[in-house]
Symmetry: C2
Subunit: 454 residues, 2 copies
């Protein structure tokens, strides 16, 4: 690409007109050779990356609106592989409780009384605002009224892999799993082929659905070739429940029933043994690691170095903000590095570059989107973020990748671009009315407060 | 206090004129009954808190410049109980290495070639800028040229407990421990009685000093009644070295030689057994817990719940930014809560309120300053911060304490006040020239880069 570019320039041909050229900053490409261009430039043509190279090469080959990124870091947008976006409305509602207490006294009553199309629309907009402001360009979601979530996410400009939660209890938008499956099929038909929204099938977990329903979910995912999202091996209670019923591990049980689809995304994957890891690898299951949620809820530590050694596709997630309590993928990177250094008793484990890879290309692979996103390469979708580096906390700057992982927060993201659309520029969100989104969330929070009042 | 206030008001007496009244926000007092006033107000008279109460009570009793904190949280300034401030200049210089590799290939060469009065002045100003911007009002320091550090910290307006590092190797400001002891005594004489700077004696550790020097350090701390700062039981290597030499644990060895002073502050305290914890309690040793450093360097997990159960004074620290990589005490709170929930396999462990207590009043106790700082109470020094709560990431707000610990960053601090002086107001730092501080740090970083170039 850059060779032909240089040739065009040498031959005196006029530069190709593109929509946007970012130039002057450090560009972390996450391409196959993991090039870091200091400085570098990216040419964006509509929704697509046209070229990545030195400022001089890009200037010679491309013309268009210039966005000067001098002093900043340009990198692929962050990919959040697990969450429940509207649950931002329950953020901090009740922390520091035993899991069952938290669920039964707060989350279930709050959900029973407040989950509605209005709630998910308000919650999705709040979550989208937070994600855009913290550099997440693709998110994964399992919740209710997923069509409303998809509409709001798409309007806000985010890329999403979204699936209606299918669970054995009656829920706000379905009286039964069969109804949720029907909603899911309609959702898939409505959104397949959408440039931003990838519809998915989202069975809650192996311990909250019967075998027949799990297989119906799998069949639906296969029929439409969409991702299959599931919670897997998150808690020791889950392991116990499944072992009592099937004498198997959660992974072993799902393997025994033939659950896996071509693109299965398993959230958490904490309580797995070596045989389970081999199964996940053999079945091409992607694992979403959610360190902050796993620590805060005391779920346990996923064997991330073992997954990596086995070649299991691995990405990072935040989980819902009711359990985390934010959607900051920079914190997910930092926690991942810290946690696995500590767990392995080796500070060389999970270096910064690997944490960044998991949050970008790794997440894209987990979601089956690695041909479209996860790195800055020609012909990929233009999902990228521009991060400032001028705060005291980030000074001096010896290594941009280390600085991103160990000293940078979501708040340092200046500009967020998805599919070539600028969603936030210099901290001003363009695709959402920030004041309105915050106001409606605060107003709705009063309903939540009343719902859990005792 | 408020009774007499109300009486004055009722009697129609004119309000007392004070320098500053903060009113309208949520006030987290950290007083004996842990009152959270929603809304509340704080009257500041010079360097001292005059009164804390409801906005109406304070308005009736006090007049002065009003700072409207509506929508914000007002809380005691954060107390960082362990660090090496000038090492911000080595932030991110070399991450993800084995400890000895990191020290021998990077940190020791960088220190040998760059530590100087100029370096510590530039580094202290950068660290002070970062601390003021992230709500730390008191910091603890062990480094070199400590008089220069004290001067710059005092000029920047921070409160500090500072001690010249005493170690068996020749260092930048002393050829021997004896020389460092002499420098320490001069430093104590110069700064004792200073309203902001508490001088301390800072022997590096039990494995980097001989018994005689450790006892000389103790004697000096006793002679001047100043804190004794020491690294303690940080790594398994330290335990092995001391066990080979003395057949004791690090704590057991220091107990056997009678090392403890009336105010000893032990940093890390990871590798301790139950007998060690009993010794630390009996000797009134305060422990500084540094979760981010301990995780990133894979040092281990301090038994924080055991310390708390035993009644050992416990505070939080960041450690130097070369190992952390920032000085954000909000992150220290969050990591402390997360880490000990995970370690204890119980999400109820270390609730948000306790994390906040450790970062404020707990730190004050560890440093022997609990009569002066750590809570918002009449007659204490006016060290407090005002934190914004209006970001998407902090919305909605159900519980201010949970929100501070689980969803707030240092960058959310709007205003920082130490000893009644406003060091930062609405994110504008008043006691330092931010541009100059950043520029001189970036310029100096080039010397560091050259020093470690191979």
């Amino acid at each position: 690409m850059l060779l032909s570019l240089a040739a065009a320039s040498t031959a005196g041909q006029s530069p190709r007109h593109v929509s946007l050229v970012l130039t002057g900053g450090t560009v972390i490409t996450m391409d196959a050779s993991r090039r870091v261009l200091t400085p570098g430039a990216v040419a964006i043509d509509g929704a697509t990356i046209a070229a990545v190279g030195s400022p001089a090469d890009i200037a010679a080959g491309y013309s268009g609106d210039i966005l000067d990124t001098t002093g900043d870091i340009v990198l692929p947008g962050l990919v959040n592989t697990h969450g429940h976006a509207p649950m931002v409305l329950y953020r901090g509602l009740a922390d520091d409780l035993a899991l069952m207490d938290w669920l039964q006294r707060y989350i279930f009553p709050a959900e029973a009384k407040t989950v509605s199309p209005e709630m998910v629309r308000i919650g999705t907009e709040l979550a989208a605002l937070e994600m855009i402001q913290s550099g997440t360009t693709t998110f994964t979601d399992m919740y209710y009224f997923e069509d409303d979530i998809a509409e709001r996410a798409r309007a806000a400009g985010l890329r999403g892999v979204l699936g209606e939660t299918i669970i054995k209890f009656p829920v706000a938008d379905a009286a039964s799993p069969a109804e949720s499956l029907a909603r899911t099929e309609a959702f898939i038909k409505r959104f397949r082929g959408d440039p931003l929204i990838t519809p998915a099938v989202a069975p809650h977990s192996a311990y909250t659905l019967d075998t027949a329903t799990l297989l119906s979910c799998r069949d639906l995912a296969v029929k439409y070739d969409v991702p299959l999202l599931v919670h897997l091996a998150e808690t020791q209670d889950e392991v116990r429940i499944i072992r009592e019923a099937s004498h198997r591990t959660p992974v072993g049980y799902l393997e025994s029933i033939g659950f896996w689809a071509p693109h299965t995304v398993a959230a958490h994957g904490i309580w797995v043994d070596d045989a389970d890891i081999a199964v996940l690898k053999a079945r091409h299951v992607g694992v979403s690691h959610n360190p902050a949620s796993n620590m805060k809820l005391a779920s346990g530590v996923a064997p991330v170095p073992k997954y990596l050694a086995a070649g299991v596709a691995l990405g990072l997630g935040t989980d819902g903000a009711a359990s985390n309590n934010d959607l900051d993928m920079f914190e997910a990177m930092r926690q991942t590095a810290y946690l696995h250094k500590l767990e392995s008793q080796d500070p060389r484990t999970l270096p910064a570059g690997l944490a960044l890879e998991l949050a970008t290309l790794g997440g894209a692979r987990v979601l089956g989107l690695e041909e479209r996103i996860g790195s800055l390469e020609p012909s990929k979708r233009a999902d990228l973020i521009i991060v400032g580096t001028n705060r005291a906390r980030q000074t001096p700057l010896f290594d941009p990748v280390s600085q991103l992982v160990y000293a940078t927060h979501g708040d340092d993201v200046k500009t967020t671009i998805v599919d070539g659309r600028i969603l936030m520029k210099d901290r001003r969100v363009l695709s959402l009315d920030e004041g309105r989104v915050l106001d409606q969330a605060r107003t709705f929070a009063e309903k939540v407060r009343v719902a859990v009042a005792r």
